[in-house]
Every structure is written in structure tokens, then in C-alpha cells.
């Protein structure tokens, strides 16, 4: 979890300074798609606040958008279609488009989806696989018990 938080902090600073893609949302969607747990919502809330602060938006704006997105991901993740990882691509395309459009409306900017949304959708594929490998191989699972 500490590593994930560190990565999210770095991603927050990167996306608010040099990269015009929502790295935090990419990571959070991937994690929510891989693992359904309450920590995702806490992380979403906290990093929504941080990203809003770093971007100079009203505090809470991004948290609401992120929370809705992650909650929707949790719901979709429970469906049987979610067994195929390719579902994350159209899902993320819709989520990123809605995220960008909502944020543009809230900050009184013109809606410009391309090429930002395309880049974000393309980035989600390697991010998803990296995070899945990390979660499966490097995070110890508590529910494994040896029978004696």
C-alpha cells in the first residue's frame, strides 16, 4: 500500500506539472478493476483532494468525479463480463471522456476530449498489466493458510 501511495503522489505531481493525462485516475481505475476493496475509495477521496489542490481547482471537485468513477468501476468489476480484461479499454474510454467533460464544465472550460482521452485509454493497458503483476506477485495475501 505504501508503494501505491508513493506512486500516486508522484503521479499527482507529474499530471499537475508536466503530463496532460490523468495518471491518478488511470492507476485508481486499474486497481479497482483488479481488486475490489474499500481502500480504493479512501485513496480516491484523498488523491481527489490532492489533485484538485495541485491543479488549483475547488477542493472536492475531483474527489466527487473520481469517487463516482471508481464506484462505477467496482460495480462493473462484479459483472461476469469483467473476467475479460479487455473490458477495461472501452470502460476507461467512457470514464475518461466523462471525467474530462465534467471537469471542463465545472471549471468553465471548453470540452476538448482529444487527444487527452486517447492517450489515457492507451496508457491504461500497460498500467493495468503492470499493476496486476505487482498485486499478484509482490503483495502477500492474508487469506492463504497452510493446513497442518
Amino acid at each position: 500500500m505504501k508503494t501505491l501511495i508513493a506512486i500516486l503522489i508522484i503521479a499527482s505531481f507529474l499530471q499537475s506539472t508536466i503530463m496532460p493525462v490523468d495518471l491518478v485516475l488511470i492507476i485508481l481505475i486499474c486497481r479497482s478493476f483488479i481488486k475490489e476493496e474499500d481502500k480504493n475509495l479512501y485513496l480516491t477521496f484523498a488523491f481527489g483532494l490532492l489533485v484538485a489542490h495541485l491543479n488549483g481547482n475547488l477542493i472536492g471537485t475531483q474527489s466527487i468525479i473520481y469517487l463516482v468513477t471508481i464506484f462505477a468501476t467496482h460495480l462493473i468489476q462484479r459483472s461476469r463480463f469483467a473476467k475479460n480484461w479487455i473490458l477495461i479499454i472501452p470502460l476507461s474510454l467512457i470514464f475518461f471522456s466523462l471525467n474530462t467533460a465534467t471537469l471542463s464544465v465545472l471549471t468553465n472550460q471548453s470540452i476538448q476530449l482529444f487527444p487527452k482521452v486517447v492517450w489515457e485509454t492507451l496508457l491504461i493497458v500497460p498500467a493495468f498489466h503492470l499493476l496486476r503483476i505487482w498485486e499478484e506477485r509482490f503483495i502477500p495475501k492474508k487469506d492463504i493458510k497452510l493446513r497442518v
Binding site: 508536466i18 475509495l41 477521496f45 481527489g48 489542490h53 472536492g60 471537485t61 469517487l67 462484479r78
Partner: protein, 263 residues
């Protein structure tokens, strides 16, 4: 795994409510103080990240620019090479055109059918780039302006060898003309670049500086073409004939275009 129909619904509403609360507080500028405090932490980090990115991108841009400049330099060098080649070609063409114009002033093209040829080699013979395919035949005279250079002795399809006046096998009737009179003789080639005007009678006047002309008795060679200039007169009083050293007016190596008298 959670067995509820909608997982973490309460948590979701709670966090959303908190977010709305934050949004409301911030809308009324109630979060200015904590935001200001947080900015003391986040702004230097953002600045550091941004300046690092600027430095890295400048370095990367330099590499890209250097690579681009190298490619451009290579392309420009190639372009310069092409331009130089084109320039040389144009200069040669201008020079040839000038030679042609000058030639037409000296020898009337209505009287003589001239064929322009480029010298392509000079050993014992002068090699030109026109041959039998262009109408060159053995014995035809090769001139430049109003000077006789030699005659074609070997002709292949596209190349002909011209025997120069200075060739030891060259022999032709000639006369010299100066202010004091005319001297007739036979111009014989010598080794090197000189020729010798031989068989000049003692009573005939010849001096250094006189020009030597063709007599026009050999085939289709016209009379009055310049063969060279007298540089030295030799001959004892008791000998039958006098001799004179003759050098060509032009240096063959300087010529870019010569003309073959076809008819």
C-alpha cells in the same frame, strides 16, 4: 469477497458527502488557510518537478536538434555539391558558346562546315570526342579560331586522334609574313611543342615575331590559317636554306573546344 449487492455504498456516500462539504467550504473560501499551508509543501515540489522536466527536455531537444542539424548539414553539403557541379557545367557551356561565337567570327561558317569537338586527351596526339559517326574523316583539319591545330590521323566511331603541327611526322607547306616581306618554306614538326619552318631561301625575309600561315596546298586545308609564331631564325650565309623555330599561338591544353573542318 463482499457479498452485498452494492459494495461499499455507505462508504461511497460518506466520502461523496465529505467531498461536497469540502467543495462547499472551498466555494466560500473557508479552506484558504489550509490550502495556503499545503501550498508551502506542494509548490516547491511542483516547481522542482517542472524545472527537472525543463532541464531534461532541453537536453533531449539538444540531442534532437544536433541530430537534425547533422542531417541538414549532410543534405546541404549534397546540395552544394550538386550546385557546384551544375555551376561547372554551366561555365563549360558558356565557355563553349563563347568559343563557338568567336569561331564563327574568324572562319565563315557559310564557307566551311565546322564540327565542334571537345579535347578529351593529349598524349602524342590530341584526342577529341568526335569520330566517324559524327562525320570526321582522316586528313580533316582541326582548327581553333583562325589557327590550325592539326589534322585527324586516326578516326574511330566516337573518337579521333589529331596529329598536331609539332608532331615529328607533321609536314606542310607554309609561309611567314612580316612587315618586311614573305618567306615560304615547309613546316616540320619537332619533338616537344616546337616546329621548324625549313627550306626558306636566303633572299626571303623572316624575323622573330612573324606569323606563319598555311599555304593551303594540302587537301581541304584552307590558305591563311595561322600555324604559329617565329621565335628564332637560324641559318648560315653559306647554306642554301634558312630555318626558323615556330611555336604555336595557343597552348593546346587551354582549349575547351576545337573545330573540325568537315567540308
Amino acid at each position: 469477497m463482499n457479498s452485498r449487492a452494492i459494495p461499499y455504498l455507505r462508504l461511497f456516500f460518506l466520502l461523496t458527502f465529505l467531498s461536497v462539504l469540502f467543495l462547499a467550504f472551498d466555494s466560500f473560501h473557508l479552506l484558504n488557510l489550509p490550502k495556503k499551508a499545503a501550498a508551502y509543501l506542494t509548490n516547491p515540489v511542483s516547481f522542482r518537478v517542472y524545472s527537472s522536466y525543463q532541464t531534461i527536455s532541453k537536453q533531449l531537444f539538444f540531442i534532437f536538434a544536433a541530430r537534425f542539424a547533422a542531417q541538414q548539414n549532410s543534405a546541404l553539403k549534397e546540395q552544394i555539391g550538386q550546385l557546384l557541379s551544375e555551376n561547372a557545367k554551366l561555365r563549360r557551356e558558356v565557355s563553349e558558346t563563347k568559343s563557338l561565337l568567336l569561331q564563327q567570327k574568324k572562319i565563315d561558317p557559310r564557307t566551311y562546315n565546322l564540327l565542334a569537338a571537345r579535347p578529351i586527351g593529349l598524349t602524342r596526339y590530341l584526342r577529341i570526342d568526335k569520330g566517324s559517326a559524327d562525320g570526321v574523316k582522316v586528313g580533316q583539319a582541326v582548327i581553333f579560331q583562325d589557327s590550325f591545330l592539326g589534322r585527324a590521323v586516326e578516326v574511330s566511331t566516337k573518337v579521333a586522334n589529331v596529329q598536331l603541327i609539332s608532331d615529328p611526322d607533321s609536314k606542310m607547306a607554309a609561309f611567314s609574313q612580316g612587315l618586311e616581306g614573305v618567306a615560304k618554306g615547309v613546316l616540320v614538326g619537332q619533338f616537344g611543342t616546337e616546329s621548324l619552318l625549313d627550306k626558306i631561301l636566303h633572299e626571303e625575309t623572316i624575323k622573330a615575331g612573324d606569323l606563319v600561315y598555311s599555304e593551303g596546298t594540302e587537301g581541304n586545308l584552307p590558305r591563311g590559317l595561322i600555324l604559329g609564331k617565329v621565335v628564332e631564325v637560324k641559318g648560315e650565309e653559306n647554306e642554301v636554306f634558312k630555318q626558323a623555330k615556330v611555336v604555336p599561338v595557343f597552348d593546346i591544353r587551354d582549349l575547351e573546344l576545337v573545330f573540325v573542318i568537315i567540308e
